[in-house]
């Protein structure tokens, strides 16, 4: 019985760490939706670009890992801006279904382009970080670093949105876009900045994931749906709701996986999501916040 409890505790702690990373992934998608009212269906494919960037800079060009990470964030932030300017801006005032379709199109385009460019093989950094041993509990450092980085990034983003003029404008524009020019704010510039931040968060997510997972052209399918589910479960556009939802789903996956099998953890998380969509279709926190 004693040993059982220790492994349960390990599952809970792992769930917490996993939740931190998921919360970060959801943050960028939520920010973009909350401000621009467009869902980046191809969000996880932007992360894939970041993972490839880190992988090639580190493993093929032998740049230090931190340089590769910084480049990964910057590259994906740039991709976010390109996505907005080239794809989303032309359909900004058209039907929401068209906006979903174009970003969905970008998803398939990026997957296919990655397959053509890099082939289908799985690649990884080839790093093995040690684990933290707490008695009988083992927590991989890759997960600890990832969760801590995610936490710091979320706090910094919160401070930015709360304390700066630009951050306040980003929150304001989702409440009343039409009068932003009266404040001296150019809405199109705020959208570009928001897309850069959303992309940057996807890039940061990529840096954290590439420590733990192989990169391949379909990696987006592993993280895209769960990221999207977290945002919807928390209330699309509600960043605090997304934060809470990330930890709920991560615990279901981790602890559910402990009691049954890791795949069952995902099944439980998806069943929980479907049930919640009937009970609270507007999300845990409802509406935007």
């Amino acid at each position: 019985m004693q040993i059982f409890d220790v492994f349960l505790l390990e599952a809970v702690l792992n769930g917490l760490l996993f939740g931190g990373v998921l919360a970060l992934l959801a943050l960028g998608l939520n920010l973009v939706f909350g401000v621009i009212d467009v869902v980046w269906i191809c969000y996880a494919e932007l992360m894939m670009i970041g993972m490839y960037t880190v992988y090639f800079l580190h493993n093929a060009y032998h740049l230090p890992l931190f340089v590769a990470f910084a480049a990964g964030v910057i590259v994906v932030a740039g991709c976010g801006v390109l996505l907005h300017v080239l794809v989303i801006r032309p359909v900004l005032n058209s039907e929401p279904i068209n906006q979903l379709l174009v970003t969905g199109g970008v998803l398939f385009f990026l997957q296919a382009a990655a397959t053509l460019a890099f082939g289908v093989q799985f690649r990884n950094l080839g790093l093995t970080l040690p684990s933290l041993e707490l008695g009988e509990i083992f927590l991989p450092f890759s997960r600890i670093y990832a969760a801590l980085t995610a936490l710091v990034a979320m706090v910094l983003l919160w401070l930015f949105l709360k304390k700066t003029y630009l951050g306040t404008a980003i929150r304001a524009i989702s409440q009343d876009r039409a009068i932003m020019p009266l404040m001296g704010v150019s809405p199109s510039r705020i959208y570009v900045v928001t897309s850069a931040i959303g992309g940057g968060l996807a890039g940061l997510g990529a840096c954290l994931l590439v420590l733990q997972y192989d990169v391949h052209p379909a990696i987006g399918l592993t993280f895209g749906p769960i990221t999207f589910m977290i945002c919807v479960l928390g209330g699309l556009g509600n960043m605090i709701g997304g934060f809470v939802a990330a930890f709920i789903l991560a615990q279901l996956i981790s602890v559910g996986g402990f009691f049954f099998h890791i795949e069952w953890g995902y099944v439980m998380a998806f069943i929980f999501f479907i049930v919640m969509m009937f009970v609270r279709p507007q999300g845990i926190m409802g509406g935007k916040g």
Partner: protein, 234 residues
């Protein structure tokens, strides 16, 4: 300071303003009065460039505004307090005021201007951390005016500041307008409350169905039999 020459404007195929000409001199308070749907709000929206002018010229301090981008107008010194207040409902009072001071020249003086906004509206200081959307209509209107003043505009555009407010609050809003003009601001105010607004402005224009129908000093217009019968209800 502000001069409109034969301005025409509208939305799509609907034309709301026809050949409107009007001037506001520095230090003046000028009202545009007229019934609902006369084009008063459109007139202010044309000046702050929220909509483009189809014809005519808008000059501010001798500079043509027609080609100026909308978000640059406030940098030139024109602040617009829009119809229905349009606060950011889920930002706090202080965050709304921060948005009013968004332009670089205002940011540098934010603390001092915040203090003077709270001096003019002590109630806002009490509510500084409250979400703007949860305040009463009168408080929201004061916050909207304070937000407009944060950039220290040369010209303040006020769109129906008394609309939808209880009579006692309306009185307080017009007191505020009087204080603002006494502080030296140039004000262009659009109002349906003709009787009250003519007491606080120097001159006024009567706008009907998109055309200027009359103009003159506030005293002249207040004494005009036609205006008294149509708008003051005396």
């Amino acid at each position: 300071m502000l001069e409109l020459k034969n301005v025409c404007a509208g939305y799509g195929t609907f034309q709301a303003l026809f050949d409107v000409s009007l001037t506001v001199n520095a230090g003046e308070a000028v009202a545009v009065i007229g019934p609902n749907g006369a084009g008063k709000t459109t007139l202010l929206r044309v000046i702050s460039k929220l909509i483009g002018a189809a014809a005519g010229e808008i000059l501010f301090e001798g500079r043509r505004l027609n080609e100026v981008e909308p978000h640059r107008v406030i940098e030139l010194g024109v602040a617009h307090v829009p119809e229905n207040r349009r606060l950011f409902p889920r930002l706090t009072v202080e965050e709304n005021l921060r948005m009013g001071a968004y332009i670089p020249s205002a940011r540098a003086h934010f603390a001092e201007r915040l203090a003077s906004a709270y001096g003019l509206f002590p109630r806002l200081e009490e509510r500084r951390a409250q979400l703007a959307g949860t305040m009463s209509g009168g408080e929201q209107q004061m916050c909207a005016i304070a937000r407009g003043l944060m950039s220290r505009p040369k010209l303040l555009l006020l769109d129906e500041p008394s609309a939808g407010l209880a009579p006692v609050i309306v009185q307080r809003i017009f007191d505020v307008v009087r204080r603002i003009r006494d502080e030296g601001y140039t004000v262009l105010i659009v109002e349906q409350n003709v009787q009250q607004v003519l007491k606080v402005v120097d001159r006024a224009y009567l706008l009907e169905v998109g055309r200027i129908k009359a103009s003159g000093s506030a005293r002249e217009l207040a004494g005009s039999e036609e205006i008294r019968r149509a708008y003051v209800g005396l």
